[in-house]
Symmetry: C2
Subunit: 239 residues, 2 copies
């Protein structure tokens, strides 16, 4: 991981920022990718729309982290984003970037870290707060299909992340190997990551007031029932 | 609604059973269909296996309702089922059968009713208890795609059900029309109904110890990651 334009400043900046915040507070990090974002929505959204939706969802997640120190971990500059959080650039893959982030956090700061995926527009502040208050060494909010949507690590020196595939099982295993207690955070909202057209149904139905919900409705998306199943439609066309 | 074999006994039996239980307790009703059950799983399970899985899930849901009075509302005799709950036979459609059930409950018993779908094998007793303890007039645990997986109605004389399609929105609307407060119960486990092959992934990953989970593993189902996504496989074959 490094600051994309000024690699040599990374450690210095990291240390300065951390010292201002104190060691004991929960740090939240949100991995985010805007380039070719949400490619599995290509059948229903243009590349610009997908990028816009990804940024809206990021803003929704940042809203949900109100009151916490937040870093955005991203491989590219977020042009067009109105984001006040600290942005850390890393060209590494997701797992490598996050594990490097955790290593530096342990080295310079210490204290718990919560990793919140950037595509969880239904997450609310009370979810984040409840997870932060857990006594468990590790808290996992599972996503659909074996994913890990939120991962809270009390002592990052004793954990490493392993996203992709059935990361839920992998994170349970890593916690077990390190003798860490695991709490499962059971939330429909936190389990709902937006990857595919069917996921947009959940955003339209349950995301009222969220930036990502507003963008979808502005684009003309509605929920329609076809053959007994809810689907998204846009401007009268089944997608 | 009527008792299939002895229609004339229905009212008498209903009243006797209700009197034994007292008026104030929460009644739970589980709609269940075993004939051609879970047809959207036809690509991965035989008719007998689908029926067996449906019965396992029903038993898991009944286990989760421990401590409550439970009725099973079903259109056909549950041969082969080892179920101690009271079984009410009705040949009506789901909505008609449930609304008739509610009408009779109001007439003969009164008190709150919780409708729990029979295909929620991840639901635990603490979910049911927490929902029962809610102060809201109506509590909804949403399912994926606009469904209503659990619906708790404090005063059934002021509510009617409307399942299928986006029943979540319909139930919000019905509550609004009747000036009822609504609580949303936010649970990944309660949101997970088992309808399609992808849903089996959730049962395999999160249903450890449940009857339905055991049946799937006995049949040789495992979770495998293909192209970065978790899918079920059976005896080494992708389904």
């Amino acid at each position: 991981m490094h600051v994309h334009t000024k690699p040599c400043d990374y450690d210095h900046n990291f240390l300065n920022m951390c010292e201002k915040r104190g060691k004991s507070s929960m740090k939240i990090v949100i991995p985010f990718k805007s380039e070719n974002a949400k490619s599995r929505l290509s059948s229903v959204l243009t590349p610009d729309e997908r990028r816009g939706l990804a940024l809206c969802m990021l803003n929704d997640v940042i809203d949900a982290t109100d009151g916490f120190d937040v870093d955005i971990l991203t491989p590219s500059v977020l042009s067009g984003a109105n984001i006040e959080s600290r942005i850390l650039l890393s060209e590494l893959g997701l797992n490598e970037a996050l594990n490097e982030y955790l290593r530096r956090h342990v080295e310079y700061v210490g204290g718990p870290v919560m990793i919140v995926m950037g595509d969880l527009p239904l997450v609310m502040n009370h979810h984040i707060t409840e997870i932060a208050l857990s006594d468990s060494d590790v808290v996992i909010a599972p996503g659909k299909g074996g994913g890990t949507n939120i991962l809270c690590i009390k002592d990052p020196s004793r954990f490493r992340v392993d996203y992709y595939g059935t990361s839920f099982l992998d994170h349970l295993q890593i916690a077990h190997e390190n003798d860490l207690t695991v709490g499962l955070y059971d939330s429909f909202a936190a389990s709902t990551d937006i990857d595919e057209p069917d996921d947009l149904v959940e955003l339209l139905l349950h995301g009222y007031g969220k930036a990502a919900h507003n963008m979808l409705t502005d684009l003309g998306f509605v929920v329609a029932v076809r053959n007994g199943r809810a689907q998204v439609e846009r401007s009268g066309n089944v997608l």
